[in-house]
Each structure stands twice: as structure tokens, then as C-alpha cells.
């Protein structure tokens, strides 16, 4: 569903991402691990078409994101580290607003169902976003993916700053989506969650994808050892 083909990005002579290839299939949750500046966000931004690759291709549903930006955008939802919504609209209104931008129109009950499915408590649906916690806003992001019927989820450290319970709830939602066949690419620092939730792990260092493995190949302790080995 998601494929990087010799994807690379150079900023003023500095290689932020060296030629990298990987694939995320339907139902996969591919976790990118690595220190700050390792190229995780660059990779995600390349798939979002926020920046153009210097070389190689980023494909979503076998389509090049640069050549067919509108078609590929239709397939994906993006949740950044801190999902910013309109503070003076309610959760429901924000969901309607951003779904409307993607030309997704549903009756109100459907939208409420998406919010409930994303785990947002019912009494918060009509409250303004300004009263929401970060975890609640991330849930609206998930509802947005549900409303868009997204097949690809691009996440940039979505659980950083969430308390363990909220973080756990978020991971459960990701698992739920992956069971529906959604391909997820997530940048994260959380080794524990990556092992628990992810199906695949990629480790990055200085723009290189230095390791790719499936989570069932490794246990928590070995994962941490491997990570530290690559980082040093």
C-alpha cells in the first residue's frame, strides 16, 4: 500500500534521507524508530508530498505522490505529534469541517458514530476543542481517518506527551484500524509501544534505514539492545 523506492532527500548538500526502500502492506503498522534528526519526519513528509524527493519515489496505492497528489491524498490521513484543530469549534464540528474539505459528507449521526468509535466520550462531542486534552484531539484525528475511510495512516510521534492510559487507548485504536486493512506508517520514540502495536520496525540513523524487522522476531529486551547498538 505504501512503498518507498530508493527514496532520498537532500537539503543544501546535506542528505536528510539517504536512498531508502521499504514497503508497508495493508494491515501493517510500520514503526520508524530513531533519534531526533534521523530522517523519520522527512520520510513522512515525503509521503505527504509536503516536500519533494531529491531522488526515488514515494508510492501510495502504487501511485507516485508527486505525480498524482490529489489521488494519493484521498487515500491517506495524517496525524502529527500535536494535532491542531479549530479551538472555537466543537469536536464534532471540527470532524465535519475537515471531512468536508475532503468532500466527505455524512449525516450528523454518522459523524457521532465515528467519534464514538475513535473512543471520544459522548459528553465531549459538542464541547469546543479548546477544552480538549491532547489525547482527545488525537482521537478526533482517528475519527477523521474513519470518516475519510483512509487506507493509509501517516503518524508523526502521535503518542508523545500522552499519558500511559491515553497512549494505550491510542494504540488499541491503531490495532483496530490495522485489522480493517489500514496501512500505517508511524514515527515514534516509544520502543514499548512499537513492539506492542507495530507489526514491523524500521530503525533509522543519520538518514539511513539501518534495520528492518518484524516485531514477532524479537522481544522487548533484545529490541532495546538492538536500538541502543544502532544509536551508538
Amino acid at each position: 500500500m505504501l512503498e518507498a523506492k530508493q527514496l532520498s532527500k537532500t537539503y543544501q548538500g546535506k542528505e536528510a534521507l539517504k536512498p531508502t526502500s521499504f514497503t508497508v502492506n495493508k494491515g501493517d503498522i510500520f514503526c520508524l524508530l530513531g533519534a531526533n534528526g534521523a530522517g523519520k519526519t522527512t520520510t513522512i513528509n515525503l509521503f505527504l508530498n509536503f516536500i519533494q524527493p531529491s531522488r526515488g519515489q514515494a508510492l501510495i496505492g502504487e501511485k507516485d505522490v508527486v505525480k498524482e497528489p490529489i489521488e494519493t491524498k484521498k487515500l491517506l490521513t495524517y496525524i502529527p505529534e500535536n494535532l491542531m484543530l479549530y479551538p472555537n469549534l466543537s469536536g464534532l464540528e471540527n470532524l465535519e469541517y475537515f471531512s468536508g474539505l475532503a468532500n466527505k459528507k455524512y449525516p450528523k449521526e454518522e459523524f457521532l458514530k465515528f467519534l464514538a468509535e475513535a473512543g471520544l466520550q459522548a459528553d465531549a462531542h459538542d464541547k469546543r476543542i479548546s477544552t480538549y486534552s491532547k489525547g482527545m484531539r488525537q482521537k478526533v484525528g482517528i475519527a477523521l481517518a474513519l470518516a475519510k475511510d483512509a487506507q493509509v495512516l501517516l503518524l508523526d510521534e502521535p503518542t508523545s506527551g500522552l499519558d500511559p492510559k491515553a497512549s494505550n487507548e491510542f494504540s488499541e485504536l491503531l490495532t483496530k484500524l490495522s485489522k480493517k486493512g489500514v496501512a500505517t506508517l508511524m514515527a515514534t520514540h516509544d520502543l514499548f509501544r512499537a513492539k506492542e502495536t507495530g507489526t514491523h520496525i524500521g530503525m533509522m540513523r543519520e538518514g539511513n534505514l539501518v534495520e528492518q524487522l518484524t516485531t514477532d522476531q524479537i522481544n522487548h529486551t533484545d529490541l532495546e539492545k538492538l536500538y541502543l547498538k544502532h544509536m551508538n
Partner: protein, 448 residues
């Protein structure tokens, strides 16, 4: 989608406050217009009454028609239209009523009403002012962060991912703001229509068209600035500076420039000459005065050169000389004023604020050119009175032989024949040019 965008926009406190403020000022401006119209109406009612009483009293007092006409004033009125309440223009300084005796005209032509000078200095807060100066500020407040607020609040990335065309999204945001501003404009105009009981005619339609196009110009201008995609504070500062330049600096500069380009020393010269040429005649041989007078009006030659020390024919001939012998200077002065007016108008075509102000005044018949027309009509009116009364004075007709009741104030109307299409063209071209440039800027970066 539009409903949600509108909701998101209107829930902002700044937006609510600026709309409320604009509405309050709009209503105030309409009430000021109403006050102006009421004052004018009172004046006109008084003038009519006063002229009747004034003539009746003097007719009782004076036995000689020559002496009577020394005192009698006749009134010419250019009644301001109701729409003058929307754009008072120069009607506050330049009177709508001209009251003249048949003596030397030039000295009477420039008499004005008494006005509170501090009110004149600050100008009138009429609806024209609200539209020209305050609406742009609201447009700026609505648009300066059209795009930058999304970028600064972090919602832009989500918008970029969700929407197929960010340009279309911006257009939706923009149209909600434009619509709201037009609603505000429409609401205030509707209030003005009701409060001032404006007749629906070409003037009103032209006023509305100009108001809409002028507001649209500001939308295009703000959109153009926004299209360079700088941050909010840069946009706000740029737009406010532009407002200051367009609304204050340029009109003041043009005024200064034109005043310096065409100085009018003739105004003093005309005044001095008009007085001198009348007064010197007292010490001159009557024949000199009478010869000149008969050259001007050969039809009165039969009244000859008077031999007595004082004679009304001679007196009015002397008065006439005040006008006749200052003609060159007076014409020069008028020509200069017209030159100033034309230069200002020409420069204003590229300064939308000034252009719109001139258009509003033209439409409401409150401009300088309307007043100049009234002066021309007063000259005609005065001449008509002279020609009517001269033979009666020269023949010393008995006062009672005249039906004085028939001298009621006369009404005239200075028509402004403005070609509205042509007048709107500069505004339209500027608006269209800026909007296209803005769209081009966005197209260029939207691909990235």
C-alpha cells in the same frame, strides 16, 4: 462546509467586536446624515418664509424702487437630494441657498453659511466616510491572516492533506468573509434607506454600486498582499500602512500638490478689483460710467446720462461696473479652480479612496463641481433679475405697481452628468488586476 467556515469565523471575538463597532458607526453616520438633511430642510423653510416677510416689510418702508432694490434679496435654492445625507461632501461649507441683491454680484457669490469651524475641520462622519475609511479596516482585519492564521495555528498541514485544492479552500474562506462584509454593507444601506427615506433612483443605485466595487477593491488588495504568504504581523503591518497611505497620505499630498501647482492669486485680485472699480466711479465723471454701461446694455441707451448729483440709473451702472471690470480676474479664478478640480480628479483615478470620495459626492450632488454649477446658475439668476428690474428702476416705476408677492425663492438643480461606467472603470481595473495577480501567486506556490 460554508456554514462551518462561517461558524468558525464568526465565533472569533475580534470578528464579533469589529462587526458590532462597524454597525454602530454605520448607524451613527446615517443619523448624522439625517441631522444634516433636517438642518437643510429647516433652513429652506426659513428662507421661504423670510423672503416673503423681508420683501413685504421693505415694500412698506420704501417709496423709491431704486432704493427698495438696494435692499431686496432674492433667493435661488439648489435643494440637496436625500442621498446627500449619505455623502455630505462640501454641502456643509458651500450653501445650498444663494440670496442676492441686484447689486454687484461677485461680492455676494461667495457668502457662506455660519458653521462650527471645529466641525468643519474634522469633517462629517457620514456613511461615505464609514465606507471609504472604516470598511477597509474591517476588511483588513478579516483578511490579513486568511492563510497565515492556519499556518501559525498549525491547522494548515491537516488542511493541505485533507483538501484537494488549497486554493479552493482559501476561496471558500475568502467568500465567507466577503459575503459577511457585503451583508454588513447591505444592512447599513438598508437602514440608511429607511432612516433617510431615500428614493430608489439612479443616484442610489450608483451609490450602492460604487460602495460594493470599492469594498471589493479592498478585498482584492488584501488578497493580493496575503498571496505573498508572509506571516500575520507582516501582513497586518503592510495592510495598515497601505490604508494610511491611501486614506490619509495620498489625498493630503494630492491636495497640497494641486494647490501649489495652481495657486489662485486671482481670488484676491478679483475681490479687490471688484470693490475698487465700483467705488472709484463715485469720483468719476458720470458719462464714463454710463458709456461703459450702455456698451454692455445698448438696449438701455435711451435713458441717457443723468445730470443730477445722484441718480439710481447711474448708481446701478456703477454697481454693474464692479462686476464688468473684474470679469477677467473672476474668469481666471474660476478657470484655476476648475483646473485644480480636474487635476485632482485625474490623479484620483489611481487613488481608489479619493476616487470613491469624489464619485460619492458627484452622485449625491455635494461636490465642488455641483457648487460651481450652482454659482453659474446664480449668475444667470442674478442677470435675469437685473434685466427685469433695470428698466423699472430707470423709469422710477411706482413700488406698488409691481406684484411683489410673485417673488418666491426659485429652485434650480445642478446636474452632475457622470458616466458611471467610465467612473467605475479605474476601480474595476485595479480590483481585477490585483485579484488576478493574487491568484497567480497562489497558483505558483500551490503546486509545491
Amino acid at each position: 462546509m460554508y456554514v462551518l467556515i462561517a461558524k468558525q469565523f464568526i465565533r472569533s471575538k475580534v470578528v464579533q467586536l469589529s462587526l458590532l463597532l462597524l454597525l454602530a458607526l454605520g448607524i451613527m453616520s446615517v443619523l448624522i446624515g439625517k441631522q444634516f438633511l433636517q438642518k437643510q430642510e429647516r433652513t429652506l423653510a426659513n428662507v421661504t418664509q423670510h423672503q416673503q416677510a423681508h420683501i413685504a416689510r421693505n415694500v412698506e418702508l420704501h417709496r423709491e424702487i431704486g432704493l427698495l432694490l438696494y435692499y431686496l434679496r432674492f433667493t435661488l435654492i439648489d435643494k440637496p437630494d436625500r442621498i446627500a445625507g449619505l455623502s455630505i461632501g462640501q454641502r456643509d461649507v458651500n450653501p445650498s441657498v444663494q440670496s442676492v441683491t441686484i447689486r454687484t454680484l461677485e461680492a455676494q457669490l461667495h457668502d457662506t453659511d455660519l458653521n462650527n469651524p471645529s466641525n468643519l475641520q474634522s469633517g462629517n462622519l457620514d456613511l461615505g466616510f464609514v465606507i471609504i475609511y472604516l470598511f477597509p479596516l474591517v476588511v483588513i482585519a478579516f483578511l490579513f491572516n486568511l492563510l497565515s492564521e492556519e499556518k501559525e495555528a498549525g491547522t494548515w498541514r491537516l488542511i493541505a492533506v485533507q483538501s484537494n485544492s488549497t486554493l479552493r479552500f482559501l476561496w471558500m474562506k475568502l467568500s465567507v468573509r466577503i459575503l459577511l462584509t457585503y451583508c454588513m454593507l447591505g444592512g447599513i444601506l438598508l437602514l440608511a434607506y429607511l432612516i433617510l427615506s431615500l428614493p430608489v433612483n439612479r443616484q442610489l443605485i450608483a451609490f450602492i454600486l460604487v460602495a460594493i466595487l470599492y469594498t471589493t477593491f479592498w478585498f482584492a488588495f488584501c488578497f493580493w498582499v496575503v498571496s505573498f504568504q508572509r506571516n500575520s504581523s507582516f501582513n497586518a503591518l503592510t495592510l495598515l500602512s497601505a490604508w494610511l497611505i491611501l486614506a490619509v497620505l495620498l489625498p493630503a499630498s494630492v491636495n497640497n500638490y494641486v494647490a501649489n501647482l495652481y495657486p489662485v492669486p486671482e481670488s484676491l485680485a478679483a475681490m479687490v478689483k471688484q470693490r475698487e472699480r465700483y467705488h472709484e466711479k463715485w469720483d468719476m465723471d458720470k458719462k464714463i460710467t454710463m458709456d461703459k454701461f450702455y456698451t454692455h446694455y445698448p438696449q438701455f441707451k435711451k435713458y441717457g446720462v443723468p445730470q443730477e448729483t445722484f441718480n439710481w440709473t447711474w448708481y446701478y451702472a456703477m454697481q454693474q461696473m464692479g462686476d464688468d471690470e473684474s470679469l477677467k480676474e473672476r474668469m481666471a479664478m474660476r478657470a484655476k479652480i476648475k483646473q485644480r478640480e480636474n487635476a485632482s480628479r485625474w490623479l484620483a483615478t489611481v487613488i481608489p479612496t479619493m476616487h470613491t470620495q469624489l464619485l460619492f459626492n458627484d452622485i449625491a450632488r455635494t461636490s465642488l463641481s455641483s457648487h460651481l454649477q450652482l454659482l453659474d446658475q446664480t449668475i444667470e439668476f442674478h442677470e435675469r433679475l437685473r434685466l427685469y428690474f433695470y428698466p423699472k428702476i430707470f423709469e422710477n416705476a411706482p413700488v406698488k405697481s409691481e406684484d411683489w408677492k410673485k417673488f418666491k425663492p426659485e429652485y434650480t438643480r445642478a446636474e452632475n452628468n457622470i458616466n458611471i461606467t467610465f467612473a467605475l472603470l479605474p476601480l474595476f481595473l485595479l480590483t481585477f488586476g490585483l485579484a488576478s495577480w493574487g491568484v497567480f501567486n497562489f497558483r505558483k506556490t500551490n503546486d509545491a
